[in-house]
Structures are given as structure tokens and as C-alpha cells.
């Protein structure tokens, strides 16, 4: 490590690592040096001059090289004649920093007066008002009155939308450039920039749609004024009126820590509503960033008139409202009849507690549990996955003689599948880690990669095996295509860098793959890690970019997907479907719901699957209840209730000002309204007298998980709620430093230990891979993931509809030319396996191989894996 340096800060002697900037050294010592343009996550630029301090350095005798001493024996300090920047000056030995001297104070006052010459007095209506660094620092250091004339203020455009997500007020901008730098350095979407100069300098967006980035919301967090604000939160509340609840993002496997800001709302009948979603610092997961899907895509879980509010039971062919007692009694009776014929299908959005209870109930009856997912390999991620102490922020060039770390991203468009990992992997590459991108087509991550390798669509596992093969020649009976791939010098170099790396991890996704293909890919990746001995240590191992928040947790709890789900659903006598909507995804599942089958669905909304069910049970969304998720990095994290559970009946529409005293009627003795997902199987189990499952409290269920599942051994909610000091220090009173991100006070989560190997299943197995070749005739469709999809969780965020767009497929230009289709034209796509036929838009990508069609998942097109399709002009 670097040598510590001793300096004096406001009369207090402190010791910090060499190279630390003064502003950060001050932070470590608990001294606040105000800043606007400096941000601890970015390099200093020194644009705002707010951090001016007096700096003195010991005088060195040039002849002897010794420190000159005062008469009393202390070193003689010479102060520079002018104030210096604390944000851009690293500490040096014996430095004396005066932050509270009259000179420093005057400097700050002058800078603030200067910044305020053109800043409008919008504070009363500004969304930043109340958590605004400029407001705070003006109160702290600014002049009481302005000497400038009101009429001579510079007027620039106000209410200037940068796209439909972010609002810009050019007059409020103080030209710190934090947003521009963030978009360049972190988001790699340089779609906003400064134009003009001096007092006319303003932010512009060059993209169409405006501010076209998945990361735009973060700029509103780090903007030190109200220049950038989100449309979602526009005028919805003042920051000081909001209550904060710690939560987690459910949209992907990263498990970003969130803070939900809630408030009662008169126009919603006096109910509590989520006003906005803010990031919560967790340097091991999402640092202080979140993507726009997490920030804006919460509306589905909020209170909504479309939400299910009471159980529905099918009577005379129609779903009719029923009491919980009636519904549960019926379910218990029919499940008991079904016994081993029960199949429980659960989605990866359910919390650990839900999956545990659902599993226990199903196993108690002798039934079968199936995880609803298009990705496999969870057994391997729990055995050769990340171990406690892993943190992507530690990956880098390696110090001293150590080789750099390596990250292999394979079959994955990481920014679309797990945005925060994309951001962190990219930062690791910027720090010097070797990034190997192995993908069938160009992705944004290629720009940061040390090695960009391509493989033909459908050959992901093959390509990884070729890397293994390039390192050792132990598998001579490989298909010729693998042999050929492993002779590629780029691939050999990448494999060598991976093998030699200090730490190496593999992230695999589901680009162009279904369940079978991704399971094979996971095995191939595990083989690569095992043969290069990158297993069992922190920051080494296998990560899967699961499509849902808790799929890793589901695997850890013994849930697995079924390769032949359609058949299994057909054979089951009773179906219990929780947190999954297979029928909306693929109409092929519809025939499995025969009339003689008893189907129970528990969901937030009356989904397509729920419409076919015999009993539909309403559940609480994740923001209304407690629970825990296991992220793709195997970190178990806890989320807290932010809103009271949705009530049984929709609140009456009342004139504003007249709010019903609904509190009095809410605590009825009978079970009413939506229940937590873990409570419902426990209530059924109680009726069947099979096992005592807990339905009162997620903490108790989690404690049971800790007692029964070996990898969770010793974990409790208290453990998950533990926090420790994180760097940089953000989210306290000093919002000028880190932005409006919330401090993490309610739990950083715990990473799981590696699962013990199963008897009889060695981790180093050779996966069953077929030498996949495109058919010589016709087109082949491959599923890809897009961040903004038409899934039911995102379509309820109307703000994002324009970005989501209509269903589309991506074609090669020459294929399109052959079919006489222009970019943006319409085609009819027919899937050969399901005979489903839809009219969709065409987007052209000439880098795509011929006869390959990319079909985005959750866009209304039913695709589970590589599928032959027929494409015709739509007319």
C-alpha cells in the first residue's frame, strides 16, 4: 500500500494515504470542504473554485534539503500567497491546510456571490430545493445580500426538457460539468455537452430521443443545483416532506440498493404513495448509481386501481370475488387430492422467504417445484460463484508485480441485461483489468474490452470450451469448429490473460440462448474457471446475469427450471403459479391449462395466466412488505416495507380535503386484502396440517432458512441489516459532496459461502454441446434481452413508453434487401414451433450475420430459445 502522509488540517494532525486529494483527506478527518464540481467518484476538474483553502508547506533549505525550523523548533511553514484548490491538490508531507481561516471564508463567499449573480431565485418551486448543495452552501458560506442588480441577471431557457425523462433549467446551471463528466466517464453515453462559452455556456443534448441514456437519472442526483431534475418526480413533493424506506431493485440480478421516498397523497385518496426512487449507497453492489429502469420502473408495484385486492374463485366458469377462507379451503382440498401431481411454478421475482415456504408446501405434498426462467446454470454459480469478500470495485490492474485481473463477459449484452454490472465492469477495465468480451454481435461493452472475440450465433458454450482448449490440449475429441476456434490467436491471447490473471471472473448472459444453451454455457464457463484455478477466492468465480432479482436465491434454495416445462405443466394435476406469467410470455403454455386441472395463481395483477386459473390470490408487492433477495453476486440483501399493504377495497374517490378515516376499518379480524407471497403457502399448509410454516413474519421465515439451508447457515435479518463505514462518505448532511444518494443505514447484505459439492456430480463435467450451425435455408431467430421491454413490470411506467417503443426484430441489411424491407418497415414473423405469427417493426443491423433475426424478449413475441422463423413483408 502507499505510504501514509501526515498533514495538519485546521490544527488537527491527520494521517492519510499518499496521493489523497485534500478534499478527501478533510472528509476522512471529518472536516467539510465545500465543493460543487468535484465528486468523489470522478477525477477533479477545478471548475467551480468553491473548495479554495489556504495551503502551507514546510520550507526546505535548498542547500541541505532539510526542513527549515522556527525558533521554537517547529517546521517553518510558508503559505502560498493565493488560495488553492483542495479538490485538485494532493496532500504532501507536513502540509498545513486552513479551511476555516478568514481568507478561505472570504474566497468561498466571493465564489458564491459570483455563482449567484445569475442563479434564479426559484428555490420555492425547484425540485432540488431542500436538498440543494447551492442552497446549503449559500446558507453556510454565502453573502447575505447580493450586490448585483436583479434586472441585469442573465436569462436562459427555463423548462427545457432533455428528452421525456429529464428536465433542464439552463438558468439554474452553475456549469460544474458533473453531468457531462458522468455521462462520458461512467455511462459512456456522451449525449450531453456544453455549448457556447462564459455566461452563455449551456447544456445541450445531441441525441434523439433527448438524453438517450440508461443512466440519465444519476445526473439529477449529482447535479449540485436544480438544473437537472427528473420528470417522474417533477413537483410531486418537497424533499423534506418525504419519508425514506430502504429497499432493493427487482428488475435484474444486480440487486441495487434503493431508497423509496413515500408520502401521503391527497389525490390518491389520502393513501401513502411512492414519490420517487433514489439510490442507496452500497459500494459492493451499486456504489451510488442506479439505472433508469430501477429509478422509474417502480409504478407497477405501487398502489394501482388494477391491482388485485381480493381472492377470486372460478364459479360457473367466471372468476368471482371470494373470501380468503373460501379460497384457501378450496385450495387445500384440491391440493390434497392432487398430492404428488402438484406442480409449483415460481418466478425469480419472489423473495427468498416466498420460495422457501412455497418449496416446503410443495415438498410436503410430494409435488414438484419448478423455477420459471429461461436461464440455467444456477447449481454452478452457487458452487463456483463469488465468495464472501468479493467486490467488483477491487478489480483492476493489480499492484506491483501482480498480473491484472480479468473479467470474461460471454453471451451477454451486459448493459441491457445487468446495467450496473456493465458500469462496474467497465470501470474495472478502466482501472486496468483485462476485459474479454465474447459475444456473437457487437455490444457497448466492446468499447472497453481488451479482447473482443466473436463466435457464430448459437455457439457460446463452444467458444468458451475453445478457450479451455487453447489453454490445455486435453480434450482432443472436440468438434472441429471448436478446434478451429481455439486456434484463433486472439482467443489464445485472451485465454492466456484469463489464466494468468490475479483474479478472474466470468459473467454469462442469455444473448441468443434459451435454457438448454445457457446451462451448457454455464458448465463451459465453470470448466474454464476450474482449469485456470479461479475458484473459491474472493473476486473469482462465475456470475450469471439472471433475468430476475432473486433467481440466484431460488437456485440456492433448491429451485431449478424445467427444460420441458410445457410437458410438465400438461402432466400436473394441480398447478400453483406464483410470481410468473408463462401464458403472456408464450402462448404455447395455454393448452397446458386444461379444464380438468386445478390452477392457483398468486400475482399482483390479473395476468393472462391468472385469467385461466381456478383461484387467483392477491399478493403484496415488494414495496409493501419485508423480505430478502439473493443477488447474482450471491449477496443476500434485505428490503423493508415502504408502504402499508394495499387495502382490500379500492379507496373511495373523494373530494380533496375530505379524507376517510379508513384506519378504523382496516384492522378487521378476518384475512383481508393482498397477502405476502410467503404467507399464502403457509396458510395453505396450516389447513393441510403438513408442516408448521410461518406466515406472520418474513424474519422468522428467514431464520428458518438460516437453520435449514447450509449456505444460509447463521444468517438472520439482523445480520443482513449490519452496516459498516463506506468510502466515499455520502448521503449525510453534505449533499454537495456525493449528491443526493442516500446513506446506507439499513444493511449492506451478506455474501453467501460456496455451496458444498453434490455427491456424484463433479463440477468439472464436459457440457453436452452440439455443433450449432445455422440452417442452410430460412431464417433463425435468437432471443436477446433489452433493458426497456414490454414486460408487465415496466409497461405501467408510462414515462418510459416512448423509450420502450413498439415490438421489433433486428435483421441484416442484405436479408432485408432480399425481402424488400426498409429500415423501420413492417414484417410478419412466423415462429415455426408455435405457428405464432405477428406483425412487427424491422430494425437493420448490417453487422449481424445473414439469416439471423434478433428477437427481443418480453416484447410480445414468444421466443424461448433459438427458433427457425419465417419472415415476410407485412401487407
Amino acid at each position: 500500500m502507499t505510504k501514509p502522509v501526515t498533514l495538519t488540517m485546521d490544527g488537527v494532525q491527520i494521517e492519510v494515504p499518499a496521493g489523497t486529494l485534500i478534499v478527501n483527506a478533510a472528509k476522512m478527518a471529518g472536516v467539510d470542504i465545500p465543493v460543487f464540481c468535484y465528486h468523489p467518484k470522478m477525477e477533479p476538474v477545478g471548475m467551480c473554485r468553491m473548495c479554495l483553502v489556504e495551503i502551507g508547506r514546510p520550507v526546505i533549505d535548498r542547500a541541505t534539503g532539510e526542513k527549515v525550523l522556527e525558533e521554537d523548533g517547529s517546521p517553518k511553514i510558508q503559505f502560498s500567497p493565493k488560495l488553492e484548490l483542495a479538490c485538485a491538490t494532493p496532500v504532501s508531507e507536513g502540509m498545513v491546510v486552513l479551511n476555516k481561516s478568514e481568507n478561505a471564508k472570504r474566497g468561498r463567499k466571493d465564489i458564491l456571490e459570483f455563482l449567484l449573480t445569475s442563479h434564479p431565485l426559484d428555490c420555492p418551486i425547484c425540485d432540488k430545493g431542500g436538498e440543494c448543495p447551492l442552497q446549503d452552501l449559500t446558507m453556510g458560506f454565502g453573502p447575505g445580500v447580493s450586490r448585483y442588480l436583479y434586472d441585469e441577471k442573465k436569462h436562459l431557457a427555463k423548462q427545457y426538457p432533455l428528452g421525456e425523462l429529464i428536465m433542464l433549467d439552463r438558468e439554474r446551471c452553475i456549469q460544474c460539468g458533473r453531468c457531462v463528466r458522468f455521462q462520458d466517464i461512467y455511462a459512456e453515453d456522451p449525449v450531453i455537452a456544453f455549448t457556447h462559452r462564459g455566461r452563455s455556456m449551456e447544456i445541450v443534448s445531441y441525441s434523439d430521443p433527448g438524453f438517450d441514456s440508461y443512466w440519465s437519472g444519476n445526473t439529477t442526483d449529482i447535479c449540485p443545483v436544480g438544473a437537472l431534475t427528473t420528470m417522474d418526480f417533477r413537483f410531486r413533493a418537497r424533499p423534506w416532506e418525504l419519508r425514506a424506506a430502504a429497499s432493493l431493485c427487482t428488475h435484474c440480478a444486480v440487486g441495487c440498493n434503493l431508497t423509496l421516498n413515500v408520502r401521503r397523497e391527497a389525490v390518491s385518496g389520502g393513501e401513502w404513495v411512492v414519490k420517487r426512487v433514489m439510490p442507496r449507497q452500497n459500494e459492493e453492489v451499486n456504489e451510488i448509481w442506479i439505472c433508469d429502469k430501477g429509478r422509474f420502473g417502480y409504478h407497477y408495484a405501487a398502489q394501482n386501481p388494477e391491482r388485485l385486492r381480493q381472492p377470486l374463485v372460478r364459479k360457473n366458469g367466471e372468476l368471482e370475488p371470494a373470501s380468503w377462507k373460501e379460497a384457501l379451503d378450496l385450495i387445500a382440498e384440491r391440493f390434497e387430492q392432487a398430492g404428488q401431481g402438484l406442480l409449483t411454478l415460481a418466478g425469480g421475482r419472489l423473495a427468498n422467504e416466498d420460495l422457501f415456504n412455497l418449496g416446503k408446501l410443495t415438498k410436503g405434498l410430494g409435488g414438484k417445484t419448478v423455477l420459471y426462467s429461461h436461464m440455467g446454470g444456477g447449481k454452478l454459480t452457487s458452487r463456483v460463484g463469488l465468495t464472501p469478500g468479493s467486490n467488483l470495485i477491487d478489480l483492476g490492474a493489480g499492484s506491483g508485480d501482480e498480473p491484472p485481473d480479468a473479467v470474461l463477459v460471454v453471451g451477454c449484452d451486459l448493459e441491457e441485461e445487468a446495467p450496473l454490472w456493465w458500469l462496474r465492469v467497465r470501470q474495472a477495465a478502466r482501472r486496468g483489468a483485462k476485459l474479454i468480451v465474447l459475444n456473437p454481435r457487437r455490444t457497448k461493452l466492446d468499447n472497453s474490452a481488451s479482447y473482443v472475440l466473436r463466435y457464430p450465433f448459437g455457439n457460446a458454450a463452444m467458444a468458451v470450451l475453445a478457450m479451455v482448449n487453447a489453454l490445455s490440449q486435453k480434450q482432443p475429441d472436440l468438434p472441429e469448429s471448436v478446434q478451429a476456434l481455439s486456434r484463433d490467436p486472439d482467443l489464445q491471447a485472451a485465454a492466456k490473460a484469463f489464466a494468468e490473471a490475479r483474479n478472474a471472473l466470468v459473467i454469462y448472459g442469455s444473448e441468443g440462448m434459451g435454457l438448454v444453451e445457457s446451462s451448457a454455457l454455464a458448465q463451459a464457463c465453470a470448466n474454464l474457471l476450474l482449469t485456470t484455478n479461479h475458484v473459491g477466492r474472493p473476486n473469482n468465480g462465475l456470475i450469471c446475469a439472471w433475468p430476475h432479482a432473486n433467481e440466484q436465491g431460488a437456485w440456492e434454495l433448491g429451485w431449478e427450471p424445467d427444460e420441458n416445462l410445457v410437458e410438465s405443466l400438461k402432466q400436473a394435476e394441480a398447478l400453483y403459479i406464483a410470481g410468473a406469467d408463462p401464458v403472456s410470455d408464450d402462448a404455447a403454455y395455454q393448452p397446458s391449462f386444461g379444464s380438468d386441472k386445478f390452477v392457483v395463481v398468486q400475482d399482483l395483477y390479473l395476468s393472462q395466466t391468472a385469467r385461466l386459473a381456478d383461484v387467483v390470490l392477491p399478493v403484496q408487492s415488494w414495496i409493501e412488505r419485508e423480505g430478502s433477495y439473493t443477488s447474482g453476486e450471491r449477496r443476500v440483501q434485505r428490503f423493508y416495507p415502504a408502504l402499508p399493504a394495499t387495502t382490500a377495497l379500492p379507496p373511495k374517490a373523494e373530494a380533496p380535503g375530505v379524507r376517510a378515516a379508513s384506519v378504523l376499518t382496516r384492522s378487521a379480524p378476518e384475512l383481508e386484502g393482498p397477502q405476502a407471497d410467503y404467507a399464502i403457502p403457509a396458510l395453505i399448509a396450516e389447513r393441510l396440517k403438513i408442516e408448521a410454516l410461518n406466515y406472520s413474519n418474513a424474519a422468522v421465515v428467514f431464520a428458518q432458512i438460516g437453520e435449514t439451508i447450509p449456505v444460509f447457515a447463521g444468517l438472520t435479518f439482523q445480520k443482513l441489516a449490519e452496516v459498516h463505514e463506506q468510502w466515499p462518505i455520502v448521503g449525510r448532511g453534505d449533499m454537495y459532496y456525493g449528491g443526493t444518494t442516500y446513506e446506507n443505514t439499513q444493511g449492506l447484505g451478506v455474501q453467501l459461502k460456496l455451496a458444498a459439492p453434490d455427491a456424484g456430480q463433479p463440477p468439472l463435467a464436459w457440457p453436452q454441446v452440439v455443433d450449432f450451425k445455422l440452417p442452410s435455408l430460412g431464417m433463425m431467430a435468437f432471443p436477446v434481452t433489452r433493458l426497456y421491454d414490454q414486460g408487465s413490470t415496466l409497461m405501467r411506467t408510462e414515462l418510459l413508453h416512448q423509450r420502450i417503443g413498439e415490438p421489433y426484430v433486428v435483421l441484416n441489411g442484405s436479408d432485408a434487401g432480399r425481402l424488400k424491407i426498409a429500415d423501420g418497415g413492417k414484417v410478419r414473423i412466423t415462429f415455426s414451433n408455435t405457428e405464432q405469427s405477428t406483425i412487427v417493426q424491422v430494425r437493420l443491423d448490417n453487422e449481424l450475420p445473414e439469416r439471423v433475426v434478433l428477437v427481443p424478449r418480453s416484447y410480445g413475441l414468444f421466443i424461448s430459445g433459438p427458433t427457425p422463423v419465417e419472415i415476410r413483408q407485412a401487407n
Binding site: K158, E241, G657
Partner: protein
Amino acid sequence: MFAIEIAKGLVTTLRELFSRPVTVQYPEEKRPVSKRFKGRHELKRYDNGLEKCIGCSLCASACPADAIFVEAAQNTDDERYSPGERYARVYEINMMRCIFCGYCEDACPTEAIVLGDNYELSFYGRRSSVYNKEMLIDPVPEGGKTTPQKVEPGLYTRSIPVMKDPPDWRTPF
């Protein structure tokens, strides 16, 4: 001996009998309140009928009794309530909670809320003690239009209307 004292007393009574009475016949007759009296709040309008309130919630945050609830929304040129960017969609004061301290008036950046001279506040239930915006807002002045107004685009471009210093800003009462 006591007769003198009694007579003195009766003289006082006799004198008061012919002087003007100090009581008024409330509620038929009302006594004017002082200039700085703090009665029921009034939400003010500009002369053109637009509301002065911009929905900033500063009154609510200044309120020591937590009696005010504000919910804002955005103005558009088709539906304009106030000259700024934002207006109060919901504005409620719980008169049972209010202590008539006038902090809200001090906090208001646009002089929208003023404690008026109406002191006749009585209600039959707790719920009717909550005064909403319709009850609090002043009638539209003569020549003005009611809100929401449809206005020409580009007429109101500021976030907060330009405020003149109030006339009595430098000269205390």
C-alpha cells in the same frame, strides 16, 4: 353611615345609564379588527384572476402546528392557475390545528397566503375543520378570469413570477 357609600355607587350607576354602551349586538353588529389581526387565511389572486400560490409548501414547513397540507402540480398554458411553473393542486388547512401564528404568511414567497380578519370559525365535526383551496381562495377580482385560464404561450416563462418588494417592507408598523 353606609348611606353615603351607597349614594356614591348609585351615582355611578346613574351616570353609566346615560352613557354609550360598550357592548355590540354581535352577530348583527361587528367590531372592526386591528390592522395586524390574524384571522382565517385567505389565498390571494392577482388582478387578472391567477392565483398567487405557487404550491411551494414553505407555509407547510413553517407551520409549527403541522396544520397545512400542500400538493403541487405543473401549470400548462392551456390550464394555468398561477403565473409560475407550479401551482397548488391541493391546499388544505386544518383550522382546528392552526394556532394563527402567521408563520405561513411570513414564509410565503409570493404573498399568496394572508391571515385575514375573519374570526368566525366553527365546525360541527373534525373533518369540516379542514378548509380546502376552494374555501380559502379569494373570489376572482373584477376584470379577472377564474382559474384555470387558457393563456397565450410564452406569456409566463418564469418559474416564479417576478415579485416587487411589498410596500411596507422597510417601514415597520
